[in-house]
């Protein structure tokens, strides 16, 4: 039972304060998810706002408050993918990885360092890696969501892993 459960009823009745409270409680998680997909903060914010708006419109259909975070995460991912599809993200087969000056610090277990690394991944790699490793999608689902072949999904994932490994290997991990 989280504190924001109590606001759902009032938010449904159109109480602005309750809607605000619900937003304050849930938007940070959504924004975090969106930021994993977009380097540009504004893009992530747009996706977050669309997700939250959608949530307020569909709040009446939510039976279990417990299920709301998972629903939000799914919706946020879908919003991000929709935007990425709209931009026709290029699923390029990069042979040589762009040197973005990635500087994973010594404290690699640090979330910040991993976060920075993830955000430096080329867009196609990052999307597939996000979906597979962090969201737990299968290659079939990823292929369907992104409109690419399963083979492409697999190759993008392995290249993303290579890319990350290469930057992690210089540092002694654990």
């Amino acid at each position: 039972m989280e504190a924001w459960y109590a606001h759902i009823h009032n938010a449904l009745n159109g109480r602005l304060d309750a809607q605000r409270a619900l937003y304050e409680a849930l938007a940070p998680r959504v924004l975090h998810t969106c930021k994993r997909y977009f380097v540009d903060e504004a893009d992530a914010e747009d996706a977050m706002i669309r997700t939250m708006t959608q949530m307020f419109h569909q709040l009446a259909t939510v039976r279990e408050p417990k299920a709301l975070p998972a629903w939000l995460r799914r919706t946020a991912v879908n919003e991000c993918l929709m935007e990425l599809r709209r931009r026709k993200a290029e699923w390029v087969e990069l042979t040589d990885f762009p040197e973005t000056g990635a500087s994973a610090t010594d404290a690699l277990h640090d979330r910040e360092a991993l976060w920075a690394l993830l955000r430096q991944l080329p867009e196609g790699y990052r999307t597939v890696f996000n979906l597979y490793a962090l969201e737990g999608y299968s290659h079939a689902e990823i292929a369907e969501q992104l409109g690419i072949s399963e083979a492409t999904s697999k190759s993008q994932l392995s290249r993303a892993r290579q890319w990350l490994q290469r930057r992690l290997v210089n540092f002694s991990l654990q």
């Binding site: 938007a27 924004l31 994993r36 708006t53 307020f56 979330r111 991993l114 962090l134 991990l173």
Partner: protein, 231 residues
Amino acid sequence: MSPKDLDKLFRDALSEGQAAPRPEAWARVAQGLPQAQRKRRILWWPYAAAASVALAAVGTWWMTDSRPEAAPSQQQAASSKQPVTSNKQPAASNQPPATSNEQPATSNQLPLATSSQGIAAFDLAFLPHMEAELGDERVPLLERRKAQAAVAAAPEYALAPEVPRRRYAQLAASVQNVWAAVSEFREAEVPAEVTVEVHVPAVVLQRINQTRTLAENLTESWSTLPSRRSH
């Protein structure tokens, strides 16, 4: 580091997390907030009231428009006795008659007040007539009514209540009946006083009362509306 480990490293660190949105973001979310919910709160009562009135109207028509053949003896009583006495009270309805008007009771085809037995008979009798042929939809209404009356008058059909195949046909027919009866009533030599009691089924009467309550609540909710909105 194996791919699995790599995935796990990132998943554990980054899968869940929070990122504070810019303060400006809320304004954009607030813009897109559903307005309909607040409006719905305001507009709910009028729609409900209108719907119940419509429902009551349809219900009244439906319940009172069962065929006279459904309860011949009672119809006889209705057309011969005046004013109608309490032996015609529906068994299920202990409510007082809701309306009383001047509709003439001379015609046997009149959709008159009906008893609960009449309703039950009507419901039962509806089933075998569901699949009547569509052909004579094209026949003018009045002629069709005559034909139906003739069929109903035949002895083998005397006990079965006659049920039209379409509700709108039934409605139109009953309107036609009232009209015909009114003109007949004007021309005929009628007794000085004819009283017809329309017994509304308890369900319908309850509906009407609910509607009245709703209307009262409506006035109240309108009067308290501004304070709610300013909240």
